[in-house]
């Protein structure tokens, strides 16, 4: 048995031979990919918080967390331990079941939506995507829609005024921008003719001008704005709005439950950055040095993963940066922008793309 579990053997296995029982190489590799992806995602969540705090400090001419470890690099660890040790208090006036469910499901949409995103080309024999679904993009939108539940349930369960206001604001905002987000990517589907994210990435290879940020710039603008609204980031952080709703939907929460809301928020921020890199910036490809072809060597495979992570991190950084530079929209402005500007614009974008494709055909 041990020789089966050794890494060289696993890398050599390609067929459908069983390792033991029902565990085929497919199951085995998938399990490895899932565990690595979730682990990496949670680490990135922790360090995005750290980056956010350091960058905000830099922007506001402060120092930020720099005491725990070099450059404060161990700060996320300390914060994690602290939130586990805090008193886990459930106030008497809340709706108990939902109060527990809400933070529990906050983390799921962010983690689940990265399952279909190709984070590299090939490593050995394996495709670097967890689930190569033919409905990839639809799946992502389905899962991101679920992220509204955590916040709305938290607002409802808290049975208190600020969380409730935060909750209904969040629901209105997130569902509104979901429409423009869904409509904004349709031109890409028109051009590619496929929902599979791997094929969308492959389509963008070749030249820099093949990236959809250049081919469908209007889609990009709408998608980017909707991404900020979906993840409740400034300039659209209505549900939290620290200085009007104290902290919105998470006021009544303490200890790890409180932390889970933030982890969920950062997880969806990372997921949406990965989507942005995949849809508009060529995913793991770079149009130079033949890096747009699936890797044949291990080094090439690792390089593709690094390219993808670099693009994702660049977007995360941009989202952090914007948060500390921009003021918050007012709620009526937010709804106006979503419904009266973006939806007609996205629809017009679809018609124009369709007509241009028709004229070209």
């Amino acid at each position: 048995m041990e020789s089966y579990l050794s890494i060289p053997h696993l890398l050599a296995v390609a067929g459908d031979e069983k390792i033991f029982g029902w565990v085929t190489p497919f199951v085995w590799y998938s399990a490895i990919k899932v565990l690595v992806a979730v682990g990496l995602m949670l680490t990135m969540v922790a360090y995005t918080v750290w980056v956010e705090r350091r960058v905000s400090a830099f922007i506001q001419d402060r120092i930020g967390p720099n005491r725990v470890g070099i450059f404060g690099l161990l700060q996320p660890l300390a914060d994690g331990v602290k939130s586990f040790l805090k008193e886990d208090f459930v106030p008497g006036h809340v709706r108990k079941v939902f109060f527990w469910i809400a933070p529990g499901i906050m983390l799921l949409p962010g983690l689940l939506s990265i399952a279909v995103i190709p984070f590299g080309s090939k490593l050995g024999e394996q495709d670097m995507v967890i689930a190569n679904l033919n409905v990839g993009l639809l799946y992502t939108f389905g899962i991101t829609s679920l992220s509204v539940y955590g916040i709305v349930l938290a607002g409802y369960a808290s049975n208190s005024k600020y969380p409730f206001l935060g909750g209904i604001r969040a629901s209105a905002q997130m569902i509104s921008y979901e429409i423009s987000m869904g409509l904004s990517v349709i031109p890409i589907l028109l051009i590619v003719g496929d929902l599979n994210l791997g094929n969308i990435v492959a389509y963008q290879g070749g030249s820099l001008w093949g990236w959809f940020i250049f081919k469908a710039p209007l889609s990009f603008v709408i998608f980017a704005a909707a991404a900020f609204a979906e993840t409740n980031r400034l300039p659209f952080d209505m549900p939290e709005a620290e200085n009007e709703l104290v902290a919105g939907y998470n006021v009544e929460y303490s200890s790890i439950k409180f932390a889970l809301f933030f982890m969920g928020e950062y997880a969806s921020m990372i997921a949406v950055s990965a989507m942005m890199a995949t849809l508009f910036f060529g995913g793991w490809t770079l149009p130079f040095f033949g890096l747009d072809q699936p890797a044949t060597t291990w080094l090439g495979g690792l390089l593709h993963i690094a390219i993808f992570l670099a693009k994702t991190c660049a977007w995360i950084f941009l989202m952090v940066w914007i948060r500390w530079m921009w003021p918050r929209f007012r709620f009526d402005q937010l709804m106006d922008l979503g419904w009266r500007r973006f939806i007609p614009l996205a629809l017009a974008n679809i018609v124009i793309t369709a007509v241009v494709l028709w004229l070209k055909a």
């Binding site: 199951v27 998938s30 899932v34 565990l35 992806a37 979730v38 949670l42 939130s83 586990f84 040790l85 805090k86 008193e87 106030p91 006036h93 527990w100 933070p103 529990g104 983390l107 799921l108 983690l111 399952a115 967890i130 689930a131 679904l133 033919n134 799946y139 808290s158 049975n159 208190s160 005024k161 409730f164 206001l165 209904i168 209105a172 569902i175 509104s176 979901e178 429409i179 869904g182 349709i186 589907l189 028109l190 003719g193 496929d194 104290v246 006021v251 009544e252 200890s255 790890i256 439950k257 889970l260 009526d332 709804m335 106006d336 009266r340 939806i343 629809l347 018609v351 028709w358 055909a361």
Partner: protein, 132 residues
């Protein structure tokens, strides 16, 4: 054959299921760990009141809210369904352009026209006017 293909497609969802299980285990584990490791405090009556910036809560805990939110939720369902309708159309569009362009383009334009009429109607009704 059809069954086999169906199973093969379902196989692709197995990693998604694994991912869901791992994610649920992660968040469930965190909630459980904090119950076990968390500090136990005493429970004075004031701790059980709703948080309103430190003041004694005024009135009922559930605030009234504008009916407009309800309207937005309904409009969302309509528009989201329309978005979902556009997805399959968009996927087959390029292939059908070469075989039956007038059907695929004409169909979309009539769909968009109906959508535009509906959109103009809700604009006219002031359903999206938040500034009153």
């Amino acid at each position: 054959m059809v069954v086999a293909m169906g199973l093969e497609q379902m196989d692709q969802y197995a990693p998604v299921l694994m991912m869901a299980l791992v994610a649920i285990a992660a968040s469930g584990g965190m909630l459980a760990a904090s119950v076990i490791a968390g500090k136990r405090g005493h429970r004075p009556a004031i701790k059980d009141t709703a948080y309103e910036c430190g003041m004694i809560p005024i009135g009922s805990n559930s605030a009234r809210f504008a009916v407009k939110f309800y309207l937005v939720a309904m409009l969302f369902i309509l528009f989201d369904i329309e978005t979902v309708f556009l997805y399959p159309w968009a996927v087959v569009y390029k292939d059908m352009l070469t075989t039956n362009a007038s059907l695929i383009l004409g169909g979309m334009i009539s769909f968009m026209a109906i959508l535009a009429v509906g959109f103009a109607y809700i604009l006219k009704k002031g359903a999206l006017n938040w500034r009153e």
